[in-house]
């Protein structure tokens, strides 16, 4: 029964991969952060902490190394449904001061709903959303949140400068207009009418609106959509500067390379649930896979023998080149030598965040369907 023998370990690995990553991520608040970085403190908050009040006090008493005050955003078992579809399903998460957090998820994962709840544009069916210890609307009125929505329209028939000036006037702690325009890179188009802008330019104007004043949290929904590569790089350079000033940045994106390069924490949403929470490196590691590739100079080897390698999740043999994904590359390579095979040009590499993301969400799809 070679087929069966071949399939069994793979399924086993799949499940193992899921077991390995999924619960670990779900409880990331307690465990996932520990190895992250020196600036990050192991969280004492857990999803089952009864009230936000307790949570806040726990945090302030235990997180002595963190510079800024209490939690920026706290979602406590938040659920939001549209009819039968739970867009956000018992979501619990905490954002800390100074973090740059990427929110990832396939289409329909609940990213936009999560941001809408955070910004008070939608109200949770159950659970609580706290922003700087208050309701979202109060935090916005206090000028602590600057946000750029994917669906955020602009007032037409006015100039860019007039619109940004309005945003400055509405902010309790505004920056000078010229500074806001310059930072968003819209100084040169300041006199242009808003309805005459290209997609990328409109996006930069939205960014100017979101950063018109001294806000502590900046929320960006798919901010670089419609921007070309250089505009995108300039945008993130600006954003990094904001983060360096100690601001908390939360952005939803579907460009995984952006999340990989910019975020110091990545949240993976899937069907309204938090599937993974950690640094990009942790997500990659916990997706549980490394890529192994090598050539077989002595000719093809019996594939079923390769397929039986421990911790193997995928196998791809094309000609003399073999590509393997493994949840434990060390053990797999060790076993490979044990087969009496002598690989040439052996390479072992980590997965990209994109592949890790696909692996995590696919595993979840497989589990739930």
């Amino acid at each position: 029964m070679p087929d069966h023998a071949g399939a069994a370990p793979e399924r086993g690995c799949h499940r193992r991969r899921y077991d390995f990553c999924h619960p670990a991520f779900r409880t990331a608040d307690t465990a996932g952060h520990t190895p992250a970085a020196t600036t990050m403190v192991p969280m004492t908050t857990t999803p089952t902490t009864p009230t936000t009040a307790t949570k806040d006090s726990t945090v302030t008493t235990t997180t002595t190394t963190r510079t800024a005050g209490p939690d920026v955003v706290v979602f406590d078992r938040v659920t939001k449904a549209y009819g039968d579809v739970r867009a956000v399903d018992g979501l619990t998460l905490t954002l800390h001061p100074g973090e740059t957090v990427a929110l990832l998820g396939p289409n329909g994962a609940g990213k936009s709903t999560t941001l809408d709840l955070l910004l008070g544009l939608k109200h949770a069916d159950s659970g609580t959303v706290r922003v700087f210890g208050t309701g979202p609307r109060e935090a916005i009125v206090a000028g602590r949140v600057g946000a750029m929505l994917q669906s955020g329209g602009l007032m037409d028939e006015v100039t860019v400068a007039e619109l940004v000036k309005l945003a400055c006037a509405l902010h309790p702690r505004p920056y000078p207009l010229s500074e806001v325009l310059a930072r968003a890179g819209v100084t040169r188009i300041a006199d242009r009418k808003v309805d005459k802008l290209s997609g990328g330019q409109a996006q930069r104007v939205r960014f100017a609106l979101a950063t018109a004043g001294d806000s502590d949290l900046i929320v960006l929904d798919e901010p670089t959509t419609g921007m070309d590569v250089s505009a995108r790089q300039a945008f993130w350079a600006t954003m990094r500067e904001q983060a360096d000033r100690g601001r908390t940045v939360l952005f939803a994106t579907h460009y995984l390379e952006e999340a990989d390069a910019i975020a110091d924490r990545v949240l993976v949403l899937h069907r309204g649930r938090l599937l993974a929470d950690g640094t990009a490196a942790e997500i990659k590691a916990k997706a549980g896979a490394r890529r192994i590739s090598f050539d077989l100079p002595d000719g093809p080897v019996d594939e079923t023998r390769l397929r039986a390698l421990p911790f193997l999740t995928t196998l791809d043999v094309s000609g003399r080149t073999v590509r393997i994904q493994s949840t434990d590359a060390d053990a797999t390579v060790h076993a490979l030598y044990g087969l009496g095979v002598y690989p040439r040009n052996l390479e072992v590499a980590g997965l990209g965040l994109e592949q890790a993301f696909v692996a995590i969400t696919a595993a979840e799809e497989a589990r739930t369907s």
């Binding site: 910004l119 544009l121 949140v145 007032m155 006015v158 309790p172």
Partner: protein, 246 residues
């Protein structure tokens, strides 16, 4: 919020089409209807000459245009574009958006009233006492709030595609049925019976009562008050529904 009113106003004053239809168009219509009319012959049952009668009708029409058009279409379009959502991420209070729209429309409706008066006085020699001019301006301006509320309600009811036809039907319906384009006394009796209950009819009747130097009919005030309550209530309800949904 003042900043938003200022910007809304800048934008309204920049929009030539909007300015033409709300400020100049009523005066042009006045000249077309009353231009060749006799300045002594009275409109039956009113004691007013046609130019005097039509002056109030057209001033009311101009104010109606400014507040109804200004509110409904912009609100529906900006709801669709997401500007309303974006504004909700600022410190601006929820009502601020609607109030700013209405305030800027009211600023445009004032000249539309005054221009009709000026044209009527100079071209057709309409003469009234000083208090009458002031009272007319005040009542037509204040009365336009009823239709500003209607504009807001339509803006929150209609989608961006449907808003123009809906506004146009409402606008022409109110103008014609209310007797703003021709005195309702020229209507057949059954239509006159309907027109009595149309808010624009009551609106213009307030102004005509001032021209006749008599107290306004209680019926007209009640009709306007009821419609004002209906429109603001409807607008508030639709606004709240939209806010929860968005």
């Amino acid at each position: 919020m003042n900043d938003l009113i200022k910007l809304e106003l800048t934008r309204a004053l920049r929009n030539r089409k909007f300015l033409f239809f709300s400020v100049l168009y009523p005066s042009i219509l006045f000249l077309l209807i009353a231009g060749s009319a006799s300045t002594t012959e009275k409109v039956s049952g009113t004691g007013l000459t046609l130019p005097t009668y039509m002056m109030v009708s057209m001033a009311s029409f101009g104010a109606l245009t400014a507040v109804l058009m200004g509110n409904s279409e912009r609100i529906a379009k900006e709801r669709e574009s997401g500007w309303v959502r974006q504004l909700r991420l600022t410190t601006l209070p929820g009502r601020g958006y609607v109030l700013a729209k209405t305030a800027s429309a009211a600023v445009v409706s004032l000249p539309s009233i005054v221009v009709v008066f000026a044209v009527a006085a100079t071209v057709k020699g309409v003469r009234l006492d000083a208090w009458q001019w002031l009272a007319l301006t005040g009542s037509i301006w204040a009365g336009s709030l009823v239709f500003a509320a209607l504009g807001v309600a339509i803006g929150y009811l209609a989608t961006g595609d449907a808003v123009r036809p809906i506004t146009m039907i409402t606008y022409f319906g109110l103008s014609i049925l209310g007797g703003l384009w021709m005195p309702t006394t020229t209507f057949p009796q059954w239509l006159q019976d309907i027109a009595r209950w149309v808010p624009t009819h009551a609106y213009a009747a307030l102004g005509q009562a001032i021209e006749q130097s008599r107290a306004p009919h209680i019926e007209d005030i009640v009709v306007l008050a009821v419609f004002f309550a209906l429109f603001t209530g409807g607008a508030a309800w639709l606004y709240r529904k939209d806010t929860l949904k968005a």
